[in-house]
Symmetry: C2
Subunit: 257 residues, 2 copies
């Protein structure tokens, strides 16, 4: 790991987070992507552009996969360093709640997670993880709450996935003590990292949705895979489960693919 890179990412995320908080008091231009629940704002584009300009200035040979597609260099191979960037994760919450959204950055080398960063913007909380070092909350080591089993824990995920019973997710809902849903992968992954819930399973996440969490979970020794226990491909959308190893094994037996 390049520790100057870690230093710079944190600095850049603080700047973006501050600007996003300020934007909540201003009029922000909003557009629909694939319907009224899939929004993009000028601030998503501004934030991703900010990261892309920094990266191309300081690391011109790095590749970038961002939600808004700001970088104009297509990524056709996972070779080298790749950044996975979600400039505002939970844009619907950002627009409607003015709360409960995150910034996510994942750093991968040859397709393997190296470091991950999730900023819980309104709580001023930056979760950073280097796979070889562990996870830190505002630079202090994070120790997750111990979770024993699904039946003695809470779980988190999208309500629609549970209502429609995609991949038999209702089996997990019924086994767990309760199901929570925050509407932002960033906050749902944070809940797993803290051990507030024992797992987060999603029927479909894009690389920018899972990149940061993939690296952060690996830094805690947690498992992150598809529902068929395969490693994630950072160039593909797929179902993803984030959980400590023993919970991950328990959940895979319940999920149906």
């Amino acid at each position: 790991m390049d520790y100057q890179l870690d230093f710079r990412i944190k600095l850049w995320m603080e700047e973006v987070a501050e600007r996003l908080r300020e934007s909540l008091n201003q009029k922000v231009e909003i557009q629909e992507k694939q319907g009224a629940a899939d929004l993009v704002t000028e601030m998503d584009r501004w934030a991703e552009t900010y990261f892309v300009e920094k990266i191309t200035t300081y690391y011109p040979d790095h590749q970038i996969i961002g939600e808004e597609g700001i970088s104009d260099t297509p990524v056709t191979s996972t070779k080298g360093i790749t950044w996975l960037i979600d400039p505002i994760d939970g844009t619907l919450n950002y627009v409607k709640e003015k709360n409960h959204f995150g910034i996510m950055v994942g750093i991968f080398e040859d397709g393997v997670p190296v470091a991950g960063y999730i900023y819980d913007v309104m709580n001023h909380d930056l979760y950073s993880g280097i796979v070889s070092e562990g996870v830190f909350l505002n630079n202090k080591p994070l120790t997750p709450i111990q979770v024993d089993s699904i039946s003695s824990s809470l779980v988190v995920g999208n309500v629609g996935n549970y209502v429609e019973n995609r991949y038999n997710l209702q089996a997990i809902h019924h086994l767990a003590l309760g199901t929570r849903s925050y509407g932002a992968a960033a906050l749902e992954i944070i809940a797993v990292l803290r051990g507030e819930v024992c797992l987060y399973a999603s029927s479909g996440l894009n690389p920018w949705d899972f990149g940061a969490g993939y690296a952060l979970c690996k830094a805690l020794g947690f498992e992150v895979t598809t529902f068929t226990n395969e490693p994630l491909n950072i160039m593909e959308k797929s179902p993803v489960i984030f959980a400590p190893k023993h919970i991950h094994a328990e959940a895979l037996k319940l999920l149906e693919v």
Copy 2:
């Protein structure tokens, strides 16, 4: 409204909140009530006892309905001043997440809401509302985000209610842009007060679950009723919906009783 009462409640809630935060670093005794998802801890009992002792000292003629039944004077009529107290709302979150729980106090006169208080403990946020005055967040006036319709807004509620489609709640889930679930009525009512979501509907709340929110919503001019548009009886458990007037009317047409 007795403003000395308002002054004292805030002081007492600050003390209880501080003690609850401290308790997260200590071993706390936990017992099951009606199963593994329905917990009570020594801190629930401690907090309710704290309130009951204060109330019986300063207001010996007031009535108390608390979740843990600490007060030994049965309430058989709504006449006079009645306190509805949930010492820890979201005890399961308190135990499992060490996060996302609240303290709720509602003040009623002859069964009618007068004032309500919800403490979002881990965010250090006290929402207080006097029906004739409005709602305040840490003593600053709270202005909710405007919500136009269910189809252009988020909603909040228990995932189980949506999965089981109790009272046809899935119609609301499908119409809304998204459904959130925090596992604590306190935090779900706060989301309505702030306008982060347009409504919170629950298939069954006890008086201590809805008392504070009933008064806080009334202080903003919002509606709080059963699913058949009846006023709430503070001596009975019932389905409850909290929402601004126009959203409340829209939701009642979708709910099936």
